[in-house]
């Protein structure tokens, strides 16, 4: 089995009007066996910045922790919150440092610019190639299913509530067509003054 499909998992981020949403499934399994249903794939990296990682679970944790370390140093040195674009470069650098023995984790970044509050989403591949889009980004074992759902459901300039509904439906239905993702979905919606976190009830099979 492919290394990226060993533990399973999926992360999805969408952009709306003045807000972004990021969602991830909660299954942690070892190939066929489900070990737990409360795995954390989305990590807070700033006041309005969240990082989601899909792939091999050990590398997901390692990358998140190393990144947090570098981010803390950055904030101490600069004395301010990092911009999402800069954070994307930081992630890209960290992943490319391991070009010939990579971390098997594919990140998705969603956040608002700390000053202008402009929404920003991007994804990177496992060796750090960044891709910024204006609609949605995703990574995980059910990426094809998620692409299909997002292409059908996404529309521009969605308000936070509508964005939440859209990303939830996209995520739930995509992971229902993947054997190694699912077992619950957690959704974060980042607006200029708050981050709303909701855990969705999903099929537990």
């Amino acid at each position: 089995m492919s290394i990226l499909a060993c533990n399973g998992g999926a992360v999805l981020a969408m952009r709306g009007r003045g807000c972004v949403a990021i969602a991830a499934d909660r299954r942690f399994g070892i190939q066929a066996q489900t070990v737990s249903t409360d795995c954390q794939r989305i990590f807070p990296m700033g006041q309005r910045l969240l990082l989601g990682l899909a792939g091999l679970a050990t590398d997901v944790q390692s990358v998140a922790q190393r990144l947090k370390f570098r981010l803390n140093l950055y904030e101490l040195k600069e004395g301010r919150q990092i911009k999402p674009q800069t954070f994307m470069s930081m992630v890209s650098n960290l992943l490319y440092e391991r070009r010939f023995g990579p971390y098997y984790a594919e990140p998705v970044i969603a956040g608002l610019d700390p000053v202008s509050l402009e929404p920003f989403i991007c994804s990177l591949d496992l060796i750090g190639c960044p891709m910024v889009t204006q609609d949605f980004v995703l990574s995980g074992t059910c990426s094809e299913q998620m692409y299909g759902m997002c292409e059908s459901l996404w529309e521009p300039d969605m308000e936070p509530e509508h964005l939440f509904e859209t990303i939830s439906q996209a995520m739930l239905n995509a992971v229902d067509r993947d054997a190694i993702s699912g077992m619950g979905v957690v959704v974060h919606v980042i607006e200029k003054d708050k981050i709303t976190t909701r855990t969705l009830k999903a099929r537990m099979d």
Binding site: M1, A5, C6, G8, G29, I30, Q31, A32, Q33, T34, T141, C142, Q145, D176, R177, D178, A179, I180, R203, M204, D205
Partner: protein, 353 residues
Amino acid sequence: MPSTKMAPAPFSLPASPLINMATATSGTTSVRFAHAPPPFRAVCALPLTKMAPRPPHRRHFVGAEFPSPQLPGSKMALASVLRAELAEFSPNFPKNFPKNFPKNFPEDFPDDSEGIPEILRDPPGPPRVLAAPPWGFEAEPEGPGLQILHGTTTLAFKTPHGVTVAVDSRATAGSYIASQSVRKVLPIGGRMLGTMAGGAADCAFWQRLVARQCRVQELRNKEPVSVAAASKLLANLVYQYKGLGLSLGTMLCGWDKRGPGLYYVDSEGQRVAGAAFAVGSGSSYAYGVLDRGLAAAARSEEAACELARRAIAQAAHRDAYSGGCVRVMHVGPEGWREVSHHDIAELQEKYLE
């Protein structure tokens, strides 16, 4: 003096990762040696040229031409199965270690597999394990060899009221869920059910063939065919294709004049009677729930069906390749009927609180 009952030969069961068997404590388990010589008139008189693809010619082993009970192609049956370099059978090892033991064991070990037809040998590759390792499965070598544990969970167990059968309904292609509404129970006549695990096409085709043959026999003998006979028909049919890559792990459940009947038949040639079986990638999880409640399930049909439902729901939760909905069926003296059909997500709301 000819004896119809052979003393059980000291052999190890051919590795069949399709099943972890729960052998009954009531002693109804009987293990038949898969290579038993067929009678002169084979039980399956089905003209293969008309109905089924012709298998390659096989010799029928008679008397002294029996292959030895070792797994064909292996050096030492148990050692190869357990992946040990050398199996230590004697308590006085290494004192009794023979002096002329070949230094380059296993290369130098006399290999009698040349006398065994190509078709009966193990496929090349790492030896198969008896039970799935606890943390996932290794990638199987490509080729017509056996494929370990297909994505499904099916179970069946006997009670005084009949046989309770429960199956999930998920079909996966790799990790993609191809369908959540597959029918994994096939009726064989009005009085028997066959569950499906392994290759769907294989199961569907061969069980239909067996159903046809059972009907013919019923018409000839004016008596419903027994579960033992039907399972023997199926086992003999698929045994002709052993080694060619058929994948079948089915339980035949029925009620005949001897009471409830339950046989597990697979494409390796195993045909085993028992009181409870779970088959598929989720079978271990199903056994956990099943074994706990079997005694209580004998009380009533509803208790038995509820136990079967819970076992499948648990397997669907833990196993990635099982899910969809649970179908519970029951085979009693008056025939088979579908008891219930629940979506697993709804069941789990009830159970996993």
